[in-house]
Symmetry: C2
Subunit: 307 residues, 2 copies
């Protein structure tokens, strides 16, 4: 039986202790722990890594302070356009959606696309139509309204800028990776994208290979960072290839990509990754990353800043 392992993230960026209150930090940490526990319980009960990463991501999507699901940022027209993806390492099955509005949990739509359509990626109104056929929950604009997000949007509108999550240069995304008892890896990622984004912009989160990837032979990866750079560097798949073709360990592959290759092209952010032996890596080249992991060796850690 494989080591059970799950890791989650709630975004990376300029997350600094001096801008945090103890109460706020506790809320973030509790949400990360709840996501870890929700996923881990599924793994411990013999569930699949796919179900574990999906359930953990739903917890993060429902938490109003992360930029995904309920806490998604406002786009240029005052709406919410969300993206998500899932992938499982056995058989390389994947599902993704982009530019969707109203769907309560985009990660469930990504999973539904993978399991119940013949496609990998659906977008916009068409993807929403498929979500309705699946019977997924929809929410009104009121559900997605968060005062803080609204103020961030108003500020971005005034400055005429597209901002990554808010003024703190935070890359708002959530995600999870896991290894189940059967030895199967899976990854999930979900995001509300960039505040004040225009033109149907899509980042790396729903791009298989860029923000999300899983292959039982190597690793499962979920990214959070400046999406454009992560797409161009095909980050998640690059880590897999460094392991498969160059024989690097998970940590070595993550180090090369996050601290060298991404830095060279100005790609700020981080990622979480797990391999088939139950190792995890949670590297980031920004000031902080909301992150945590839990495993069957008794490991359990939730962190926000650099050590």
């Amino acid at each position: 039986m494989s080591q059970l392992t799950i890791a989650v993230h709630g975004g990376a960026g300029t997350i600094l202790k001096e801008n945090m209150t103890p109460g706020l930090q506790q809320r973030y940490e509790q949400a990360l722990q709840q996501a870890l526990d929700t996923g881990y319980d599924i793994l411990a009960a013999g569930g699949s890594s796919l179900d574990a990463v999906t359930a953990a991501t739903v917890v993060l999507e429902d938490f109003p302070l992360f930029n995904a699901g309920k806490g998604s940022v406002f786009n240029h027209t005052g709406g919410h356009e969300m993206d998500a993806a899932v992938m499982e390492g056995s058989g390389l099955r994947a599902g993704a959606c982009s530019g969707i509005s109203g769907v309560r949990n985009p990660v469930l739509l990504a999973k539904g696309i993978m399991e119940r359509s013949e496609h990998v990626m659906l977008t916009g109104r068409g993807a929403e139509q498929f979500a309705r056929q699946l019977g997924l929950s929809f929410e009104s604009e009121a559900y997605f309204y968060e005062e803080t997000r609204y103020r961030q949007w108003q500020e971005a509108l005034e400055e005429g800028k597209v901002v990554l999550d808010h003024n703190d240069k935070k890359f708002g995304t959530v995600g999870a990776v896991a290894l189940d008892a059967a030895g199967n890896l899976a990854a999930a990622t979900s995001t509300g994208g960039m505040t004040n984004k225009k033109y149907g912009r899509v980042g790396d989160s729903p791009i298989i290979g860029a923000g999300t990837f899983a292959d039982n032979r190597t690793c499962a990866v979920s990214c959070t960072g400046h999406g454009e750079l992560f797409i161009r560097a095909v980050v998640a798949h690059d880590i897999s290839c460094l392991m498969e073709y160059k024989g690097l360990s998970l940590q070595e592959a993550c180090d090369v990509v996050v601290y060298d290759k991404l830095v060279k092209i100005g790609g700020e952010g981080g990622l979480i990754a797990a391999d088939a032996q139950g190792n995890v890596a949670l590297p980031f080249n920004s000031a902080g990353m909301y992150r945590g992991y839990r495993n069957s060796r008794g490991g359990n850690e939730v962190k926000i800043y650099k050590d």
Copy 2:
């Protein structure tokens, strides 16, 4: 000075000589040659590989028999939703659009997104809005109307199927790769997707790493095939990684991906690729692929079937 090289494709699939007339075959071959010559003339005049692949792809988009631009297939609602991407190997810059209607040459929008936005991927109505700001040409539905495509859609509607290009199981996509005198590689891909497609389906063409990729250190790749499988296998980036991390030649890397890895997951199709030495590879695991290449060593070939 580098060898000048350009290769193009007009889709792969069950393309059989017995279903072709001499006149039709000549039209296909002329279109491919015209695309090669258009791109090659730019390279020979000292132009960039990016300009060469874009211009070659415009020729293929304007040709009514390939599934891209003017010849795009009908989607489920009787419209046309097109996808395109470009990438240049120096600096890994990329641009892509998906689910766009009315834009005469989607590849020009992909190039405009790369050069004139801060984003990599724009979708749907938002991407069209950006195209208008760029001053790109729009066409009415009449321009995109092709009798053959309409019949294929009607047949697909009756059968309730999503079909890849038409009854012949052809993966309609066009694309180009090139190496310019400065040693820069570039790739471009454009498609109308699948006949009768629903739900805003997006294939591999606009996905950087899957259908389109370029890196001066390795190769430029443009794919055509069953998009879902090409996304899951991150085909274009995989070829690059096999060269970079495993030291395979362009041809060896293409052979591994097209004849082994893709076949194992049922991924039918092919691709065109060029490396920094001016080598080209045009592998496909389907019955045929519209393809050709031209280089400064005097090489010039246009082919449709297996040898």
